[in-house]
Symmetry: C2
Subunit: 147 residues, 2 copies
């Protein structure tokens, strides 16, 4: 993963000491943002009703398990990256709507390949895991040996 730089919301926001930048290998350009726990769910939900805007609370209700804090942080980072637009209406009570930019929508199609791979292979991966865990080949001794 490329460590592009400090995201909003990290204490690493204040000071970055030994930020070794990590040489990106060609196919390694998966932005750190995508590795964040809630980024993909948020983008996904924003894109479902494509072109539509979603209120903060709507997102919070639809994305199961996300906390207010993490939704705010995720949206802030996406906004900063230019993937999401924030529309603020200074009413009482306040209303805020979020909308995917074109660039943000583009990520999803980019992710399709990954998604297909996962759905195609998830069952097999899980089977491999069970097999590995069962044979408990944690120690070198029990590994398959060749000559």
């Amino acid at each position: 993963m490329i460590r592009l730089e400090k995201p909003i919301g990290s204490r690493f926001d204040k000071q970055n000491k030994g930020g070794r930048p990590f040489r990106p290998v060609p196919s390694n350009g998966i932005c750190t943002r995508l590795g964040d726990k809630w980024t993909v769910p948020v983008i996904w939900h924003l894109s479902v009703a494509s072109g539509q805007r979603l209120r903060f609370s709507a997102l919070k209700n639809e994305i199961e398990g996300i906390t207010q804090r993490m939704l705010t942080l995720t949206l802030r980072n996406l906004e900063r990256d230019g993937l999401v637009v924030r529309h603020y209406f200074p009413e009482v009570p306040p209303r805020v709507e979020y909308e995917l930019t074109d660039m943000g929508a583009g990520i999803l199609s980019a992710l399709e390949g990954v998604n297909f791979w996962i759905t195609d292979n998830l069952a097999h991966v899980e089977q491999c895991r069970r097999a590995y865990d069962d044979s408990e080949q944690r120690t070198v001794k029990t590994c398959s040996v060749e000559t």
Copy 2:
């Protein structure tokens, strides 16, 4: 990100208390493994000389910045997932070679879309970030307001 379950090498390896499993949205199937820091670099290097096996030390030398520990952990997890095969030769000194499985090789092509997106949009993202940071719109007050 799907939290499939505990990876090898986490202390969470011992006991998982409240492992809330996270409902995957359709396009959310990006395995946690891909979010790990070294997974993509390792797969990438294994695929470069496609079909070839690579020794542990070869990988360690080629992947800049990776530590012995993290390479071991990453390879173990990939092996467990069935993405990598480990060939162990009990010589002295020992020799171990790693090889991508077909399934493992498939991930890279799945990642191509993401990689293209990144290379196409990275510059723009960084520009958005600079703009955002400059205008320092951390407070709601300075946000764009609509009526």
